[in-house]
């Protein structure tokens, strides 16, 4: 027994110590190898698992042709939405007449933007905007068609659509270098502002003329279902900020979907390198 005890206490390196020493040796060796002057091979950060390699994004230029192609794409997106709205058969005679006129106007602006695109040396874009269609219009139309009040949601969608189109043209008129294109976009911004205001006036009458938030204070008024009202005039100055739209039926918690819609940016420009999607 005494021998056994002596044997245990006399062994200075047990299994645990051996593992620690081994780990330390491997670590030092790895550091030494990494610091070596003759190191070769891939110097990219290491990756774990099987994620696909990161692709560098192309840095495509944004010129007048891109701006005008994007303008065309938004106009044609509006046409597509209004055609879908007409197909629901939910609109009465006056609203049908109005929506038919809106389609006509947006197609006219799209055609004009297409001609201007070619005049600045680009290729006219004759399709909808794929980014908006995939990310916003598709889910939004699905929500509207499944809504507990589809007519309200159709009107609100039209107002938001016109507001975003107007805001886009308002921004483009500053950014465009071509004088004819700048003039055409401010004309489009004006037309679409009138569209928006008239849709609200037709749907809501005098109660929808001016937002009580025009001075920047107070609370946004909602309808009986908690959906924010739309107004013909929301701000003293034309806003180019994002627009919020609540649509669709409430979920089990009583919450409806909120769509945040913005003017075009890097993801939604119709770059010159983009192939037609229609």
């Amino acid at each position: 027994m005494t021998d056994n005890t002596n044997a245990t206490t006399s062994s200075r390196y047990g299994r645990r110590e051996a593992l620690k020493l081994g780990g330390l040796t491997v670590s030092v060796a790895a550091i030494a190898a990494a610091c070596g002057s003759d190191r070769t091979g891939d110097d990219a950060p290491g990756r774990v698992g099987f994620a696909p390699p990161i692709e560098e994004l192309e840095d495509y230029p944004i010129d007048d042709a891109v701006r005008l192609r994007t303008a065309s794409s938004l106009e044609l997106t509006a046409v597509a939405v209004y055609e879908a709205v007409l197909a629901t058969g939910l609109l009465d005679g006056d609203l049908t007449t109005l929506v038919e006129r809106l389609i006509e106007d947006h197609q006219m602006v799209a055609d004009e933007m297409g001609q201007l695109t070619e005049s600045v040396g680009g290729v006219a874009w004759e399709c909808t905007n794929p980014w908006y269609m995939d990310r916003t219009v598709g889910p939004l139309l699905a929500a509207v068609l499944d809504s507990d009040n589809p007519l309200r949601d159709i009107v609100n969608t039209a107002v938001v659509l016109e507001n975003i189109a107007a805001a886009t043209h308002q921004s483009l008129t500053i950014e465009l270098e071509d004088a004819d294109a700048a003039a055409a976009t401010i004309a489009a911004a004006t037309l679409e502002s009138r569209h928006s205001a008239f849709i609200v006036a037709t749907a809501r009458g005098p109660e929808g003329y001016v937002s009580p938030l025009i001075d920047g204070d107070g609370e946004a008024p909602n309808d009986a279902d908690g959906v924010p009202y739309k107004f013909a005039i929301n701000n003293r100055f034309g806003s180019t900020g994002q627009v919020e739209l609540v649509a669709g039926k409430p979920n089990e918690n009583g919450v409806r979907q909120t769509f945040l819609i913005q003017t075009p940016s890097l993801n939604s420009w119709i770059y010159n390198e983009l192939e037609p999607t229609c």
Binding site: D94, T97, L98, E100, R101, E104, D105, A166, Q170, T173, I174, E175, L176, E177, D178, A179, D180, A182, A183, I186, A187, A189, T190, L191, S193, R194, H195, S196, A197, F198, A201, T202, P206, Y209, V210, I214, A232, I233, N235, R236, F237, G238, S239
Partner: protein, 200 residues
């Protein structure tokens, strides 16, 4: 409201037609422009001359709305007049602030020409006069927009134009004097010929 679409060009009465003495001209040719990337940020001296005319137009509009309120305009029309007067004085302040002068003068000639049309308590008459004024103001700013050199002048002007177009649309709906969508969306408005020659 019964809507009419694709109707022939409007023959609706317009204040513009009665304002020959003031010197309304056709909308300016949108000719002068420079690349946005080369444009100065702040208003140039040429911009400031034009911005002064724009500011005076805005203060004139404000004074006309105040005249309507003073004449006893009430209810929805009175509320709109108050809001729109505030809009226009805000535009005047913003224009003047950006250009570095005071918003303290209006276009007296224009004011005198339009005052009697605005000095009414009749909502429909007010709406028609005011819609015409807003459409004219939007057209005038649109003509000026093409003349401005600076980004700030352009940006501010564009943000005013779109709201004046909305105000015109609301007033058209209030007055109910047209159901023709051409008149509502493409009103027959011409730019004012301002004394600075901006919109001539």
């Amino acid at each position: 409201m019964d809507l009419e679409s694709a109707a022939p060009a409007s023959s609706r009465r317009s204040l513009i037609g009665a304002l020959g003495a003031v010197g309304l001209a056709g909308a300016a040719a949108l000719s002068i422009a420079r690349p946005a990337s080369a444009a100065p940020t702040s208003p140039t001296e040429d911009d400031k001359e034009l911005l002064r005319q724009a500011m005076e137009l805005e203060l004139t509009a404000e004074a006309l709305y105040r005249a309507a309120i003073d004449a006893g305009l009430s209810d929805v029309a009175g509320e709109l007049a108050a809001v729109f007067a505030e809009n226009h004085v805000t535009y005047a302040d913003k224009i003047a602030g950006g250009a570095g002068f005071s918003a303290d003068t209006r276009n007296e000639e224009l004011f005198e020409q339009l005052r009697s049309a605005f000095a009414t308590s009749d909502a429909d008459a007010f709406a028609e006069a005011a819609a015409s004024l807003e459409n004219t103001a939007a057209a005038t700013h649109t003509a000026l927009l093409a003349e401005y050199e600076s980004i700030k002048a352009k940006t501010l002007t564009a943000s005013i134009i779109v709201v004046e177009a909305r105000m015109a649309t609301v007033l058209t709906d209030l007055g109910g004097f047209t159901s023709n969508l051409d008149d509502i969306f493409e009103p027959d408005a011409e730019a004012l010929e301002l004394s600075g020659g901006a919109a001539s």
